[in-house]
Symmetry: C2
């Protein structure tokens, strides 16, 4: 009998990461494996809404993964893994991001595809394993897909995502446009947040060459709620840069309805951001028309600029 494994997503978990942990653990269980979902951080309000809506318990918090067997979902770089992952045995990876720095000593199952959500890939894995997707699991997978693709509006969205979304909505018996709007409203509940929470709420850390770079994103239908507090937000960003010694911190304030972003920038390498994103910062701010995806439209040019 082999050691049980945890299925776990990235730090600062979002909806796609949490539901992927649940759905992939269920698939493994259906295939006779001893697997449990876990999480590497607090549940955000949108994800809590999803778990309540589909009556699913939140995965247990894993504080230290050293010595464990891990299946990674929705990420594949160590700057985003749960604490202790470098001392864990990685058994599988299912993801839709760039290829990062996770290495293994033995061959493993690694499935990365350039689609809009990890939920999309997991739906295919259920099909390939000939395991039925029940209504509850379909609801979870649909939530991850709609959240990550901003209801199929993000430029990361592919035809596969659209086909899968329709099928999942059918099984879960919801209208995905209506349900998607409910989800978007959850993302937007920003009013009560502290500036530091806004910066770190959906945050990823990268190593670009020798530089540590943080990129946060606030996806909202009300960008003014954030931008009206820009001085306080910039101050919070400066604090994070000082604490974590980032070369630069970029905060994307993404307007989900207009499909555009405003970038706020902190740290000493603002010029590299200007070069990478081909913009001029005015008062530490730049407007990015058409930019909705951190992964596809911001990470690659910034990485190139830093190297």
């Amino acid at each position: 009998m082999s050691q049980p494994s945890y299925v776990i997503g990235h730090q600062q978990p979002d909806t796609d990461t949490i539901i992927s942990a649940v759905a992939y653990a269920r698939l493994k269980q259906a295939q006779g494996e001893d697997a449990a979902p876990a999480r590497a951080g607090a549940i955000n309000p949108e994800t809590q809404f999803v778990l309540d809506r589909w009556e699913v318990e939140k995965p247990a918090l894993l504080e230290d993964a050293a010595g464990e067997r891990l299946a990674l979902v929705d990420h594949n770089e160590h700057s985003q893994t749960v604490s202790g992952a470098r001392e864990a045995e990685i058994t599988d990876i299912v993801d839709h991001h760039r290829i990062g720095d996770v290495e293994t000593s033995s061959p493993i199952f690694f499935r990365n595809e350039p689609v809009g959500s990890t939920a999309t890939i997991l739906t295919r894995l259920y099909d390939e394993a000939d395991v039925e997707i029940d209504a509850q699991t379909a609801g979870l997978l649909l939530s991850g897909l709609l959240s990550d693709t901003v209801v199929l509006r993000s430029p990361t969205t592919t035809d596969t995502d659209r086909t899968v979304a329709e099928r999942l909505a059918d099984i879960a018996d919801v209208d995905y446009e209506t349900y998607g709007k409910e989800l978007l409203q959850q993302k937007s509940k920003l009013g009560e947040k502290e500036p530091r929470e806004m910066v770190l709420g959906d945050f990823k850390e990268f190593e670009f060459g020798s530089h540590d770079v943080g990129i946060g994103q606030i996806e909202t239908v009300e960008p003014d709620t954030v931008l009206e507090q820009r001085e306080a937000v910039l101050e919070a960003m400066d604090e994070v840069v000082a604490e974590r010694e980032y070369a630069v911190l970029v905060l994307l304030v993404t307007d989900l309805l207009e499909e555009e972003s405003t970038a706020l920038v902190a740290g000493d390498h603002a010029e590299t951001v200007e070069a990478g994103l081909d913009v001029t910062l005015t008062d530490r701010e730049a407007f990015l028309p058409g930019v909705m995806s951190r992964k596809k439209q911001v990470v690659p040019p910034l990485e190139d600029a830093f190297q």
Copy 2:
């Protein structure tokens, strides 16, 4: 129109690497992509036999991949990639080895599975894409599968490999045991080789922590042909260690019929090899009962021992 891409396997190409480049390029072409197979080194006698048997031209030699678009097959670490790959754009990876150090700035298609050959995974990709496998392509894929799994005898062989082999043999209209024996005889044509050719014929280089380690393998039905020349072979190994500054070089002489190996060792870190493989070297040699797979039985314990 996007730039055409090369599908290419590892340096010191073996049969699975060459036929995977051909078969994956054909799959991409069938899906409307502009892709051509390529190779990163000389064709070995077994692979030449396979290409002649199925009347397929050898892929073109790619000497410098800088600036090219590459789909990597049968490897995913830079110590094994074609020259210039670090300056190329990696668009896909299909492999069955450990996860190595290839990173990308954008999301890509990465399919790694712990099965016996890359050919096995490619067969599934044809099925998933609903592209028919013709008799010639089936013959190539079967050759890669049988070569890498030593006709389904290697411990890396899975049930999936067995099922796929039967199906490919059916399409290619050959008896896979008979055809497999012909392949094994090609592997064994060692008599005329120089010691240095024996060492480097099927050779892989690894970075284990801060150490460069080379691991060669001679798969043969006549191990005595090699071991009778052990002094000359060890001398060739010492030369390679000095030239390439390896911490250690291990040469596995694998007896395909008895399913066992003899390891010869050169370099300053022989003790680490003893610890990793749990053996005692006598006169720079150790017997490894049951060991047939470099990837599964030698690389993981050596990597652990060096870290």
